[in-house]
């Protein structure tokens, strides 16, 4: 055992799994809207909450939502919470510098969009409650290819970041029930 080379003690095994899945109708419409700078959510016919994007159902009432329940929400909102992530080098990691990971509650929405970059102020000056507006990528650079039914990568291919507008912060009451 003592003269076994280190590389002989392990077996390298790269597991690669590829999935091809049709985007659900509700996410397909969401993707269509994003390419046109429109953000579409759905309003639950039972509780009235607005989810962005639509899941095709209200996860609290467990009732379906249809295209008829879909509404557009503005591209402005509030940072409800954030963290600054120091990237760790792991297989597939693309980040090299500390980055913002923020939840944004768009005006009129009850759900938040997670994992967003917030720009316009230094990271050290970020606050929950700051009002932001989407900075859209130029039309020709927009892509919805990263969107999946899993719910990850919602607006990432079309919105570059959410930019602080400079308006007064939203009071805590406006977002305390929508932190995540």
């Amino acid at each position: 055992m003592t003269d076994t080379a280190k590389e002989d003690l392990v077996m390298e095994h790269l597991v690669t799994l590829t999935y091809h899945e049709r985007l659900t109708d509700n996410l397909n419409r969401f993707a269509d809207g994003l390419l046109e700078e429109r953000i579409i959510g759905a309003k639950c016919p039972s509780c009235g909450r607005v989810f962005v994007p639509s899941k095709g159902y209200c996860s609290l009432c467990v009732v379906p939502t249809t295209e008829a329940d879909e509404i557009e929400v503005p591209d402005t909102g509030i940072v409800t919470g954030f963290t600054i992530v120091t990237p760790v080098a792991y297989y597939g990691q693309t980040k090299t510098e500390p980055f913002v990971y923020a939840s944004v509650r768009l005006d009129g929405a009850d759900s938040t969009i997670g994992g967003q970059d917030v720009t316009g102020v230094p990271q050290s000056e970020l606050r929950a409650g700051m009002r932001v507006k989407a900075k859209w990528k130029p039309r020709e650079e927009r892509s919805v290819d990263g969107m999946t039914n899993r719910g990850w990568s919602g607006v990432d291919g079309v919105v570059e970041s959410f930019e602080v507008t400079g308006e007064p912060d939203a009071p805590l009451d406006e977002y305390k029930d929508h932190l995540f």
């Binding site: 799994l17 999935y19 659900t24 467990v62 379906p64």
Partner: protein
């Protein structure tokens, strides 16, 4: 002694579909709702929920968490998940009901096989050292098993084709089945080319998406909810060694043991629903249960897994198909089977009776 006064009182399933447009959780939302509605209970009444699914199949870590939204998890519910077929989720929920402090439980299973490549995904359940890097897909393994069965003299290729013809015939009257052919003929099937000698394409399951849910209740609650509940008289599962080479893959000792432990005494059975995804496996399973393929027990009246194979739901679908026939009065005693792992490594048996 496990309680024998727990029954299925509600169920629902999606059809088995080659490529469902809705996402997995979108398949589950109406399915779970329909099972609860059939049971006639309020959603918030459910004492315990258990779900079965496979993140590797869905294509993302913690994918199963989304599925829970179909159960309605706010305010918080008491729930669990198994990375396994819904049949095992039902088993866990049945075990929970044994505590006696809750009256009702919900179990469901779901899976979409359409987005992935079976050769890739199913290698992940295999021994990572000796098997997974070879990527022996389920059809290749089943082909080896089929050859072993033929060599033993216990079955012929004609027997395999007969299993398929039976499945296609039975599936023709099942609105949820995917592959149906009331006119399937053994000779026509035998004329098809091999896919994995000695298996032909029809000896193998289709690729399927689907979801299924059941509601169970205890004792008098069950009687008040359902005119003729499907009583779970026994429920057991057993597993064999993993390496195919150390097992006898021509028979299913774990199915025989699970059936015995579930209380199946070899007496009359009206219906047996087996999760044989390859035609030779149906013969292996029947033998392990001491049943003849053409005897008095109806084998896979739903068409079985050869007619539709929504992995992670297919085993629970067998239980539902058996329970449905008890509830509608067409059967008194039924046995349902679910399987997991390569080549029938792990097997579950559920024994159901009408009162």
């Amino acid at each position: 002694m496990p309680a024998t006064d727990i029954a299925i009182v509600g169920y629902a399933q999606t059809p088995s579909l080659r490529d469902a447009n809705p996402s997995e959780v979108q398949l589950l939302v109406p399915t779970v709702a329909a099972a609860i509605e059939m049971a006639g209970i309020g959603r918030r009444e459910i004492g315990f929920t258990c779900a079965g699914s496979c993140d590797y199949l869905t294509g993302g870590p913690f994918a199963f968490v989304s599925n829970l939204e179909a159960a309605g998890a706010w305010p918080p519910i008491s729930e669990s998940h198994v990375e396994a077929d819904g049949a095992w989720a039902m088993y866990e929920a049945w075990m929970r009901l044994q505590e006696g402090d809750i009256d009702t439980a919900l179990a469901f299973g779901s899976g979409k096989s359409s987005p992935s490549n079976p050769s890739e995904v199913w290698a992940q359940q295999l021994d990572p050292y000796y098997l997974a890097p070879l990527a022996p897909d389920p059809i290749s393994l089943a082909g080896i098993q089929a050859r072993a069965l033929l060599d033993s003299g216990k079955a012929t290729e004609r027997d395999f084709a007969q299993v398929v013809a039976n499945s296609r015939h039975n599936a023709a009257s099942n609105p949820n089945a995917q592959l149906k052919d009331a006119g399937a003929s053994v000779d026509a099937l035998l004329a098809e080319p091999y896919l994995r000698n000695p298996l032909r394409k029809h000896d193998c399951p289709p690729i399927s998406d689907g979801a299924v849910a059941v509601v169970m209740a205890r004792g008098d609650r069950a009687r008040s909810l359902c005119e003729r509940p499907a009583w779970i008289r026994g429920f057991d599962h057993r597993v064999e060694a993993h390496q195919p080479g150390v097992r006898d893959i021509r028979s299913s000792s774990s199915t025989a043991l699970a059936a015995r432990k579930a209380g199946y005494d070899g007496g009359p059975l009206d219906v047996v629903e087996l999760s044989s995804t390859f035609s030779p496996q149906e013969l292996i399973l029947l033998e392990s249960l001491g049943l003849a393929p053409d005897g008095p027990t109806k084998v896979n009246p739903s068409g079985g897994a050869l007619a539709g194979n929504p992995i992670m739901a297919v085993g629970l679908v067998r239980i539902v198909e058996a329970a449905a026939r008890i509830i509608d009065g067409s059967a008194n005693r039924a046995l349902a089977h679910a399987t997991s792992g390569p080549l029938l490594q792990q097997n579950l048996v559920c024994l159901l009776e009408g009162e």
